[in-house]
């Protein structure tokens, strides 16, 4: 093994470091970059009947001529058709609100875990991750059992005499937000926790010693220092929430327009692969923007 490595290094200048990096690189190339390029290719094609259901981008028309057919029609259609814009805006709104409530719920939880004694900390973290052991779909269906008209919540409230008619919660935005916030909560808690856990308590003592009440010390020290954790968690929630499709479909109302749903319809109902690919590409573009802003923020923080 060592001899092979040495040989590789001498002959080709390949070191162990290169080999270690090579594995994930090949993985990403095979399962991310190539599929991505295929989708990109399809997005510039036209739909047609047959298999595959889209026109090829290039063809050899005669022996020496390459016919290249790039069509921006799908993108133009997205720009023209208000359905897509509405779906994008609605998705972003849903993702934004979900992220906000995730942050609101996750922060105290992450803070509590980070402040708990070492003995409890691992147990509490395990409880955060525990839901992952059950299928995502099962958990969403469980919410249906809780939220529907003759579900657990309504039954309990009626038995207690607090309400006389069941509250309509299913097929509402309320149920959808509950589902999204619940499902993505761990993605917010974990980065927040890993940030908060590293905080130096003497900073808070210093702030209190200088006359800040514990709450003011939290606002001026802990909160700003946990910003990177908040941003990382928000990214992890916001990005998948924009493309979220299952939860709005199962818990939300029929009139909740989500880009994920539009994509699904385009792909499976209309069998319009090129149009679906173009929507997917546009979605990617919309999401890459906040990621880049985050990266720049991080780079600035690190360099400052």
């Amino acid at each position: 093994m060592v001899r092979t490595l040495r040989l590789l290094q001498r002959r080709f200048g390949i070191t162990g470091r290169h080999l270690v990096i090579a594995v994930p690189s090949v993985w990403l190339l095979l399962f991310f970059l190539i599929p991505f390029l295929i989708v990109l290719e399809i997005s510039f094609a036209h739909t047609r009947l047959g298999a595959p259901p889209y026109t090829p981008l290039w063809e050899w028309t005669s022996e020496h001529a390459l016919h290249l057919a790039l069509s921006a029609a799908n993108y133009l259609f997205i720009a023209r058709e208000s359905l897509y814009l509405d779906a994008f805006l609605s998705s972003i709104k849903v993702a934004f609100i979900s992220t906000f409530f995730c942050l609101l719920v996750a922060y105290p939880m992450a803070y509590g875990i980070a402040r708990s004694s070492a003995r409890w900390r691992n147990t509490l973290l395990l409880l955060v991750v525990l839901p992952f052991w059950t299928s995502f779909l099962v958990r969403v269906y469980a919410w249906i059992g809780l939220l529907r008209n003759n579900g657990l919540i309504n039954n309990v409230l009626m038995a207690l005499g607090l309400i006389h008619e069941p509250l309509v919660m299913m097929q509402t935005d309320f149920a959808m937000y509950i589902g999204i916030v619940y499902s993505y909560l761990p993605f917010m808690i974990l980065p927040l926790y890993s940030n908060l856990e590293k905080h130096d308590d003497t900073l808070l003592e210093a702030a209190v010693n200088l006359g800040a009440t514990p709450f003011k010390a939290f606002l001026q020290i802990t909160l700003p220092l946990s910003l990177p954790g908040m941003i990382a968690g928000s990214m992890l929630v916001f990005i998948p929430a924009v493309g979220e499709f299952v939860i709005p479909r199962l818990l939300g109302g029929n009139n909740t327009l989500m880009i994920g749903r539009v994509l699904w319809d385009e792909f499976f109902n209309n069998r319009n692969w090129p149009q679906a690919s173009a929507v997917a590409m546009t979605l990617l573009l919309v999401l890459v923007l906040p990621i880049m802003i985050f990266q720049r923020y991080q780079a600035r923080e690190a360099g400052a």
Binding site: L203, A206, V208, N209, A212, T213, L225
Partner: protein
Amino acid sequence: MTGIGIAEKTRPQMRRVREREAPWKNPEATAYIRIEGISKKFGDFTAVDDVTLDIYRGEIFCLLGGSGCGKTTLLRMLAGFEAPTGGRICIDGHDMADVPPFKRPVNMMFQSYALFPHMTVEKNVAFGLKQEGMPRNEIAERVGEMLALVKLEEFARRKPHQLSGGQRQRVALARSLIKRPKLLLLDEPLGALDKRLREHTQFELVNIQERLGVTFIVVTHDQEEAMTLATRIGVMNHGRIVQVGTPHEIYEFPKTRFTAEFIGNVNMFEGRVIEDEPGHVLIESADLGGRIHVGHGISSAPDAVVWAAVRPEKMILAREPPRERFNAAPGTIREVAYMGDVSIYVVQLDSGKAVRVTQPNTRRHADGAFTWDDRAWVCWHESSAVVVME
């Protein structure tokens, strides 16, 4: 240990403090900080055990002790970060028991400095004033003055991680002084600095302390730091104050073995009291292989086991036996360390005990000096030894 000759060092900056009338000797003076029977237990462990101390306005009081002796816990109780399990702390006549840490008239400089990493130097220093709701232009003025005092004006806009260790230390000092506290607590203030910077900073600290008239309580494990900074030192061991005194008193008149051994170098001779008169004590010591005559009386039970402590620089090396038959023993020189100003000899007495002797190098030529394997008499004057208890 580098305790040789500390007590003799001259420190012009310090003289003013020492020449002032020592308030601790004046029965009329009222203590600025009264610590009355303070204890702190963590579960079964007693970190601070019934400590009583009076500290006066304008003092630099050093709490000196090894790690885990309770000095930091005591400091944290003064700041209000730990609640005492017993006893009382009064600052300027006010009982601190129910005063939360953010309302105490006390500021602290942390060992790790605890600078806020997301704030500039300016913002760090301004923090305390901002909490009081002081108008912005007044804050800017005070911060400017303070940064000038610690010579950091040009670094106002930097963040802590862009500063060197010494600069960070000064930011921490400026931040803890900005509210003009009457009492400043300093936890190992020079601990993170290298040796050269330490000496320089020590004097700077004393200067600032005198200029602002703040009372300092300094926690340190470094005896040299305590000796140069302090007006008085409180030596701590196992949560108790073992001895309180000026650096001179602590060095020359230690009361216990712990104090004598913790500060500076010392030779200890275990022995039994055979004669205890008001004017002198005679001790039979197997360690020395002879008798020790101490020129001061002690109050001890007859036959009590005591220790005679003699500092290395107070011993004399001689070729011939002295006239008196006590305070002397023959031995063989085992080690010689030439330090320039002094030489350190390790002499193995015929009793088997190794003794450390420091001799000033008063002459430039080394002929006739003691060297390895020479036979020599170790002796000292009857006023040089101190009798200490366990």
